[in-house]
């Protein structure tokens, strides 16, 4: 079922005032895939994610998810369509408990699904241990688990993960990436933004490389890993 296009961005342009952040990017994600968006700081990765969620408005271009055109919708309508976003910097509700954060993750649902909650606790047992603790007192890695868990609470078809490895101890990065692949195996399509190209490409089926607001390269993970450009720019290998 990996050839059905679930999500498609076409000629997307976004700017901050007069500064163009995305200069016409196009990409697609098929059902069941893990797709990575790679690139350096300022390449436009987070801008892409925030525009998909409509926290930023596109200047032109289209973003389609199934039969819905997203660019005309307000931000709070997106999660209800089946796209859930775990944002850069985690953005957990620091003064609320872990449990309250997860309940807010299910806000778009009529009621909270116990099974999903159990699944999230199974993926990230730390969250279960700390469910009465304030989210702001968790470590960075635990907050990341919470951000992903919170995003799963809305039962998304597609999960947007923005820099899940940012500022997290390497051992936890490994654990989190393992659980991301578990999430994908359960049938959730994943669009992942990462600076850690190696880890991301190991996990992803395909990838796009963003460079100052444009797609510089795209291909399967194997192709990208083998590409000299990617190796030079992101994996620190010189040829």
């Amino acid at each position: 079922m990996k050839n059905e296009v679930l999500f498609e961005i076409k000629d997307l342009e976004v700017s901050y005032g007069s500064i163009a952040a995305l200069k016409g990017i196009s990409l697609d994600v098929h059902k069941g895939e893990i797709v990575a968006i790679l690139g350096a700081n300022g390449a436009g990765k987070t801008t892409t994610m925030r525009t998909i969620s409509q926290l930023l408005k596109a200047k032109s271009g289209s973003i389609r998810f199934k039969e819905h055109e997203l660019t005309q919708l307000p931000a709070h309508k997106i999660v209800g369509l089946g796209i859930s976003h775990s944002p850069e910097g985690r953005r957990v509700f620091g003064v609320l408990t872990v449990e309250e954060n997860l309940m807010l993750g299910a806000f778009s649902q009529k009621s909270m699904d116990r099974e999903i909650l159990d699944w999230v606790f199974q993926l990230f047992p730390r969250l279960k241990e700390r469910r009465k603790q304030l989210a702001g007192t968790l470590s960075g890695g635990e907050q990341q688990m919470l951000a992903i868990g919170r995003a799963l609470m809305s039962k998304p078809e597609m999960l947007l993960l923005d820099e899940p490895s940012l500022g997290i101890a390497p051992i936890l990065v490994k654990a989190i990436f393992k659980q991301i692949s578990e999430i994908a195996k359960s049938g959730v399509t994943v669009l992942l933004v990462e600076q850690n190209a190696k880890a991301a490409l190991k996990l992803a089926d395909r990838g796009y490389v963003l460079d100052v607001g444009k797609i510089a390269l795209s291909g399967t993970s194997a192709e990208l890993l083998a590409s000299e450009k990617v190796q030079e720019a992101y994996l620190g290998k010189k040829h």
Partner: protein
Amino acid sequence: MDIFLQQLANGLTIGSMFALVALGYTMVYGVMRLINFAHGDMVAASAFVGLTIYTQVMGQATSLGAVIVIFLLTAAVMACIGILLERLAYRPLREAPRLSAVVSALGASLVIQNGIMLIWGPRMRIFPELVPQVYWDLGGVVISLIQVIILALSLVLMIALYLFVEKTRMGAAIRASSIDQDAARLMGINVNSVIALIFIIGSSLGAVGGLFIGLYYRGITFNMGWQYGLYAFIAAILGGIGNIPGAMLGGMLLGLFNAFIAGYVSSTWADAFTFILLILILIVRPTGILGERVAEKV
């Protein structure tokens, strides 16, 4: 001891009025990081709206049912004006620098204050005696029916608000929006609706506060919102602005502080001491008594 108990009763009465008004400041600040300077004038307007509803709509009836209707209608009218205020004065400036919104708030304050003057005139008006003058002498301490009503109704409203914010789905949306608006949107929360709701709640509670001011002090003037608004604003800061139980606590404490200064020092000096208190809070504990819990690890 008599002075102490008497001022305790008086302090709790004015404290509940401060607290009701302070909630409007603190809720708006919590979600929008904006001091709604027009809130005090909204409170003043409520007393005049209540007066007009009493004379024009209710035919000067003072039965219990009529008084309840006056309260409900006034709250409803003020809630509508609150929504209008947000739409016209604040929503267009949502993305603008914060100073623009503050200037807009000050402008809205002047518009409402002058609006009251144009409609009801510049002279002091006497608020109707909606509650019979009943007093109890409890061994030297005199407590009036109106004081009991103010305190009891304020407590009921505050407990109801607290439960609403802590226990319901919309309450969770308010709390999430006050922490991180973008993250709240990602959860599917319509932040615009939350802001409208906050103005509805804040204006309605302010309306009850304004009617209490009319009932308790009897004389109402078009510019009284400035004074009561300032007191309530100080109460909100005292409790920790943005914090709902903080506004309740701050209001009560400020009311007691005021009453004791008036009782033991001099009522002419009550204002001066209140501002000294404000300055001391800002120096010693700028986040207020219950301040925002700071637990964020970076």
